[in-house]
Amino acid sequence: MSKTRDAIKKISIERLGIELTDEIIDSGKAFKDIGVDSLDAIELVVSVEDELDIELSDARLDTVENIKDLADYLSEFD
């Protein structure tokens, strides 16, 4: 069980209307290929920070290129 991964799934469905399964997250597909455009991606990050009461590093986020990268980074907060 990963609370950060659960947060990604919850926020994606509630705010973006996109259902993200573990399989989709682990596929490493680009955001746009899973229906998440750049504005959605920003909102996803902000909402995850809010939900988990964490502050993500801008420098670290600079290395995030897809949903798996984001999930892997967030797992550091599990």
Binding site: S38, A41, I42, V46, D58, T63, V64
Partner: protein, 306 residues
């Protein structure tokens, strides 16, 4: 004569082609800014039930821009925002921020699900500038609103109109303001005066696009070549705007758009239609008939009210 050269049309929500839709939920305002593209205050507030019906009929997910005059003057502003999310759309609130100087109101906005706010900051933190441009010494309230927005971690856009011989130092002062308030993620929208509705600068006296680029370059630590390299690129990877340049102050992640970004926009109306960015298919506006019309074309045709 003017209407003949404006390509005006309306679409039913089921036919909507616009990505962003402006919802002018009220025409009341608590400021009397000298530059206001919709200065008519006699138009009644938008009907919430009709708005909900409109949202339910849209043919895809849109960005709904809750705007006014000053949208927080509508007593049902929060309900309008909640409706946007209920029907699965995105939402941004465009505000002068006076009401957001109260923390309780910002908390209510957050609880509604809103995460994205556009705050006008024409005078930055300078009351003399605010008085000259917006007819009100409101710097303290603006800064308080900014702090409340930051505390609640909203996605933040700011809007600053550059008025010649008044606030041409604004780009640099914005950076100082954000440094002092620990605001590191923001999209700063810098524009010149649009000659729509009520305005204080004619086309011939306006700051031109190249001058906006120069001001930002001089005050924000990036070269003009760097800024100009972003001309004609797709904004957010999605669409182009002929009159805008969007660029990050620090080259970094283009996917998540974190950090400080600047969008320079030319609102000049020195073309035959008398509107900025004619024929743009990016922004629509909800009309009095609850159809969608191209934003600037609808504004130009309805300057006297609708």
């Amino acid at each position: 004569m003017q209407e003949k050269i404006i390509n005006y049309y309306e679409q039913l929500p089921e036919e909507n082609m616009f990505m962003d839709i402006m919802a002018d939920i009220t025409h009341k305002c608590n400021m009397t800014c000298k530059n206001c593209y919709i200065p008519n205050r006699e138009i009644p507030d938008m009907d919430l039930d009709k708005f909900r019906d409109f949202l339910s009929r849209l043919n895809g997910r849109c960005m709904i821009r809750i705007v006014g005059a000053e949208p927080t003057m509508n007593p049902h502003c929060i309900e309008f925002i909640e409706a946007v999310f209920e029907y699965g759309h995105r939402c941004i609130l465009l505000t002068n921020g006076l009401r957001l100087s109260h923390k309780n109101y910002v908390d209510k906005l957050h609880t509604s699900g809103l995460r994205h706010i556009y705050l006008s900051l024409n005078g930055v933190d300078n009351d003399d500038w605010y008085e000259t441009i917006d007819e009100m010494r409101c710097a303290e309230k603006k800064i308080k609103a900014l702090q409340n927005i930051r505390e609640r971690k909203f996605i933040l856009d700011t809007g600053t109109i550059i008025v010649p011989d008044v606030n041409e130092d604004a780009p640099g002062k914005l950076l100082e303001l954000f440094d002092n308030n620990n605001i590191n993620n923001v999209l700063m929208r810098i524009k010149n005066v649009g000659q729509l509705g009520r305005y204080q600068t004619e086309v011939d006296d306006n700051v031109k696009l190249n001058q906006l680029v120069k001001l930002c370059s001089e005050q924000m630590g990036v070269s003009e070549d760097y800024i100009n390299s972003f001309r004609d690129q797709k904004l957010y990877g999605m669409y182009t705007e002929s009159n805008s340049i969007l660029f990050p102050l620090r080259e970094g992640n283009k996917i998540l758009n974190r950090g400080r970004w600047v969008k320079i926009t030319n609102w000049d109306t020195d073309n035959e239609s008398g509107i900025p960015d004619p024929n743009s298919q990016r922004r629509g506006r909800i009309t009095e008939n609850f159809t969608v019309a191209p934003l600037y074309e609808h504004i130009k045709i309805n300057e006297g009210g609708y």
